[in-house]
Amino acid sequence: MGAVVALDTLLQQRQVWKGQPTGLPAHIQPTGHAALDAALPAGGWPDTALSEILYARDGMGELQLLWPTLARLSQAGERIMLVAPPFIPYVPAWQAAGIDQRQLVMVDAAGDQALWAAEQCLRSGCFGAVICWPQRAGDRALRRIQVAAETGETLAFAYRPLAESANPSPAALRLVIDDAAGQVRVLKCRGGRPSANAISIRAGR
């Protein structure tokens, strides 16, 4: 224990690894919520990866979290795919959020078929964003979606019930919307340590 080893020597001998921060992605996908962007290491959604949004109940502002992103993408001419949404998307409200309705596409499917459809859509690279609501999706299914998002270089979003937050997930980013409406917590994010504080996303209404 007596010998003092210089850190430089250790590094040169490659005995110690330095954690290198991964470079920023080529495209920054801002979420449209300044506070959230600031909290995320990539300055926005993880590009070409799956982001999970865990929410306790319907009507907690879970769509408003995405709307600015969808509005930006749709105005840039990218298509947006909703794979088996739980309710009918009420287009006037989506339009009011700035989303170009001509770019909205919806697929009606159930269970495994919906996962398959989501994977196909992601892999094809036809879409700016693919949003799905996986029911009882296992780790394997989510991993497939994650890989498909990487292959197709598409933003993938999965809305899942809050109970899933206890289970591990391959998603690059996991956000939690719990009871306090308009507040988001970062549960996991690739390339950075999430802050424990809740971030307010509601622009005020």
Binding site: F87, P92, A93, V105, M106, V107, C126
Partner: protein, 471 residues
């Protein structure tokens, strides 16, 4: 136009043999009623044992016991014929099954792509050898002549009508597809070659023989066109191989499965499509089939790769009972898009255009599964959005605050609905189309903090009806 005829002299035998690991085995195909089983065709090895076609099975068994038998199945022969046509479709758009056990291909128009006939023919032969079908190929200016030349020649290529007349003239009258009695009559008259027949005056021929004879000869020489049906490849692949004994080990299944998969690959190449999902049925005696579904992420058609994927799944499969037959069904055959990368493209992986993806989704999930959604200028929430096939207008309607989600059937909220944040907003419309709506809408915060859009019928106290979520 130049026509190639590929004749399969022992299609039935090859069809059976190619599923066996030892193609040199003594094999006889048998047919006929159960009381009188006859040998229909035999392999060379069986012929050496003294077996001849036309022998009864009992007689053959008396001679030797060292041969295996298989059923001579007309349906199977037809099936192979169609499979080969699907294969040939890749080389020519005009493939015909007009003659039994032979394929007719119009090749002149394909030569630009496949090179001169010498190379083209070699390629056909190589692929047929790989598939395990013996064949004879002849090329002639018209289809009928090509077929008849294949009777006695292999590898002949007749360039033009003049040469055709000479070549055909040297052929025996018995081998040019004339009815048996006509051919016999010709040879009894001393006319053994076609050129002798052609030397006769036409009117005497017409007087002495039925009109089919002259018609056939004219067709052969190309003076009369032969009407051919074009072969259209089927839209799906469904092939079954019956195993001649019960197979209990997965390893033994590899060989027939490999054949099936390579047939599938040949079929796909002919259609210029790939396969994304196929099902392997393993049939048992008393149990339901074991189904092995092989799904791929993108359309593929490489035989080796498909087999590797199938093998990987087959190795781990638990088979409950001995397997009697294997069947491969592929219905999902999307267009094969080779991987390409463009120099300047934002997303290099965009390999599938939206139209194709849409078709694929529709094929699997149903025709109405993919919907475009758009708004519709109507104040009633149920009517304010539409699902539409294509070409939607972008109508911006200025409305007060509206929820992102609409519940398809309004649900009654309990008595303890929560706190009213805003409202009422009255929506009263639709008296003209029978869907009259008179409602007061409220923005409600439920006890869990959810923002709901709920209504009450005008003039009624009743419960709130949940109609949307401000998600």
């Amino acid at each position: 136009m130049r026509w190639a005829c590929i004749l399969f002299p022992q299609l039935a035998l090859d069809g059976v043999l190619r599923h066996r690991e030892d193609p040199k085995a003594a094999l006889a195909l048998i047919a006929g009623p159960a009381q009188r089983r006859m040998l229909q065709t035999v392999t060379p090895a069986a012929r050496e044992l003294g077996l001849r076609p036309g022998m009864t099975l009992t007689a053959a068994r008396a001679l030797t016991d060292e041969f295996v038998i298989a059923e001579y199945d007309e349906k199977q022969i037809e099936h192979w014929h169609h499979l080969l046509a699907a294969w040939a479709y890749r080389f020519s758009s005009h493939v015909s099954l007009h003659y039994p056990r032979a394929l007719l291909l119009e090749v002149q128009s394909s030569m630009g792509l496949f090179g001169p006939w010498l190379h083209f023919e070699q390629r056909l032969r190589n692929e047929l050898d790989a598939m395990g079908f013996r064949h004879r190929i002849a090329l002639a200016p018209n289809p009928a002549a090509a077929r008849m030349l294949a009777n006695s020649h292999d590898g002949i290529a007749v360039p033009d009508r003049h040469a055709l007349r000479e070549t055909l003239g040297r052929m025996s009258v018995e081998r040019i597809g004339l009815a048996g009695e006509t051919a016999t009559a010709f040879s009894r008259m001393g006319l053994r070659r076609l050129h002798q027949v052609l030397a006769l005056p036409r009117d005497t021929l017409a007087r002495r023989f039925p009109e089919q004879v002259l018609r056939h000869i004219d067709t052969l020489l190309g003076d009369r066109p032969l009407v051919l049906d074009c072969f259209a490849p089927p839209d799906f692949f469904d092939v079954r191989i019956e195993l001649n004994f019960d197979v209990e080990s997965n390893q033994t299944l590899f060989f027939p499965v490999k054949r099936l998969v390579s047939d599938l690959a040949a079929f796909l190449a002919g259609r210029d499509s790939g396969v994304q999902r196929f099902i392997l049925h393993l049939e048992h005696r008393n149990l339901e089939d074991t189904r092995l579904t092989v799904g791929l992420l993108a359309a593929e058609r490489e035989s080796e790769m498909l087999f590797e994927l199938t093998r990987g799944r087959l190795e781990t499969l638990q088979i409950p009972a001995p397997v009697q037959a294997v069947r491969l069904v592929a219905r999902d055959l999307p267009r094969f898009v080779p991987e390409s990368s463009q120099l300047f493209e934002d997303r290099p992986q965009q390999k599938l255009p939206w139209e194709q993806l849409r078709e694929r989704l529709r094929a699997r999930l149903g025709d109405d599964a993919v919907l475009d959604i758009c708004s519709h200028p109507d104040h009633r929430p149920e009517h304010a959005w539409r699902q539409q096939a294509a070409g939607k207008p972008d109508l911006a309607v200025a409305l007060p605050l509206r929820p992102g989600w609409l519940v398809s059937e309004p649900v009654a909220l309990g008595d303890d609905a929560g706190q009213i944040l805003a409202g009422p907003e009255r929506i009263e419309s639709g008296w003209w189309d029978g869907a009259d709506v008179r409602r007061d809408y409220y923005l409600i915060r439920t006890e869990h903090g959810q923002l709901a859009w709920a209504f009450r019928q005008v003039g009624q106290a009743g419960p709130f009806w949940l109609h949307g979520w401000f998600a």
